[in-house]
Symmetry: C2
DNA sequence: GTGTCCCACGAAAACGGTTTCGGCAAGATG
DNA sequence: CATCTTGCCGAAACCGTTTTCGTGGGACAC
């Protein structure tokens, strides 16, 4: 099932067969047709390896992740895989599991396989060490920001997403807005808090208490909601750092007899549909657009392969998904 | 950075360099050392493509999935990727998204890339059409059962997992056990119901009502729990078809003032930790061992590559994870 | 009829490795 | 000293494809 078989079957040389199959101009239409027919009859599979070996492009990229099992890598991978497939490229997947030795090993492996480029997927939108010096092919960082500003990083715009959420609450007449979120060791938590703060300042509102930093769990949401309600019983909206926290907050509000959204509106973050849609009531939340982020990373990688490498940090915008937990706008009082 | 560079630098022929780097016997230790040193100095990366091209093994397998975004594919992928990495192999990832045309396209692509074998990952442990005729290399089906009994399929043992759960409840003194689960169009739902039925029959118990088939959601769990409690107020345990349903059931029980596990014990299924651990109380549940399933698939694929192809259906056992929702054994009455 | 041009095609080189095979030298054996 | 064995090494073939370049012939103009 090699090219010479096809050539023999079609009565031409391998050179001609190669040109015919690759759509090059210097071959007569009748001959081309004969070759194509022969290839079809023999169900010939061109050997992409040899092709890549010669032309230098394997049409393969390595995707290096730290925590594939996490919540976010999956969606990015999905978007990237799709975008690559559309560009007739394939993805070699490697999960370093946060282990530097594994990462080194995988970088070597992927380079040995002659990948055309790398996508390094982070797990928390944080700053992460640049690997570019060790890698002689283009690299794009996704959901992570490389320490080296000469690298290209695509990150989620947490601050912008938080502004979407906050503006939604403010425009719906909420005035006393609390914030319950994850650990302040996470940049995502800090950025989201900052986005909220900015919007409140612009609207001339003061936040209902300091942001409550804790952990990214339903349990913390339940606990923190009690704290917040005790300190600020008049709170009329809670912006939560993610959907799990929001689900916990909703639990507590229900337990304490507050109606959602009538008394208190809730906004989550991440649009993790299992939580957001199944929450009581379904959560208004911010979608990170991670699939799009993966696709964007691929686009820029392909551009880099063509010699148009980008530089700096690109922020992928989020998208507000409105469900019932914020309800209609309150009447002006 | 090619082999001839290394050879030149070491003052030997490419042939000798090749043998030295590949650890073949017919090269003097001193020469080998010289070559290795040269390779290190030039930081030579052997070109795995050319190697594969010649020896016929690319040490790459294609992983074809239908629904990568789903709950289950991820874990299987994780286990498979890890097992392949340990065997110095890499995985090319393709997500057909349930589209037959995409699937065909990806099969062609993967074959063109000369993968050594395929792992076809299903999304629901169901029977799924055999692709083996179109694929001239070994294929293993994971979390799906091929229609062709001559293929090798690795599936989750849903009936066995349900037995684990049911035996746990029975041995803890529960006697009136209800079942709320997903659509009966899912084999997983039917198998799990069957496992429960078997155990109850063996223990001489009759089920608390017919299994309630619905959907795999928290919402359905909440609704069905009301139905079940209305029909069988004396129920003392509910085995749920998955953890989302269980979380919904727990919601309703709490709303109706039943204590978990004192009045009613709950067992879930899937060990989806976000739900199971964050539930009130944390859920006893059955872990599908999907990572192990992925690893098992890889093992069998590697065996098939060595000419020891297996046949038939292998059931991957589940594992009971005991948390608080089933509590200690009830005192005998 | 002759000269020119262009087009289709094929021979051959290249790519980066592995593998086969032959040769050479050193040591063992008679 | 002659012969045989053994161990190392390199020349060359090979893999399947692309690409370059040369060639032959047909078409067209004059």
């Amino acid at each position: 099932m090699t090219l010479s078989d096809v050539a023999g079957h079609a009565g031409v040389s391998v050179a001609t067969a190669s040109k015919a199959l690759n759509g090059r101009a210097e071959v007569a239409p009748s001959t081309r047709e004969r070759v194509l027919r022969a290839a079809a009859e023999l169900s010939f599979q061109p050997n992409a390896l040899a092709a890549g070996l010669i032309s230098g492009r394997t049409r393969t990229v390595g995707l290096l992740t730290d925590e594939l099992g996490g919540r976010f890598a999956m969606s990015i991978l999905l978007g990237a895989e799709n975008a690559l497939g559309n560009g007739q490229m394939s993805v070699l997947l490697c999960d370093a599991r946060g282990d530097a030795i594994r990462r080194q090993h995988y970088i070597r492996t992927l380079l040995a396989r002659q990948v055309d480029g790398f996508i390094v997927v982070g797990d928390s939108n944080e700053v992460s060490p640049s690997l570019t010096q060790q890698i002689p092919v283009p690299v794009v960082y996704a959901y992570a920001e490389s320490t080296d500003p000469r690298d290209l990083s695509i990150v989620a715009d947490d601050e912008g997403g938080a502004r979407l959420a906050a503006e939604h609450l403010v425009s719906h007449g909420r005035r006393r807005i609390g914030h319950i979120t994850g650990p302040d060791s996470y940049r995502a938590a800090r950025d989201r808090a900052a986005g909220l703060r900015t919007v409140l300042a612009e609207a001339g509102l003061s936040p209902a208490g300091d942001p409550l930093f804790g952990e990214w769990s339903q349990r913390w949401g339940r606990h923190a909601a009690r704290l917040l309600l005790a300190a600020r019983p008049d709170v009329d909206a809670i912006f939560c750092g993610n959907d799990q926290v929001a689900a916990g907050v909703a639990d507590t509000l229900r337990d304490l007899g507050r109606r959602i959204p009538d008394d208190v509106a809730i906004v989550g973050y991440d649009n993790w549909e299992f939580f957001a849609e199944d929450c009581r009531p379904p959560l208004t939340t911010v979608d990170l657009n991670l699939e799009q982020l993966g696709a964007t990373a691929v686009q820029h990688l392909i551009a880099a392969l063509d010699g148009n490498a980008g530089v700096g940090v690109i922020r992928q915008q989020g998208r507000l998904v409105v469900r019932e937990s914020t309800g209609p706008a309150l009447p002006r009082r």
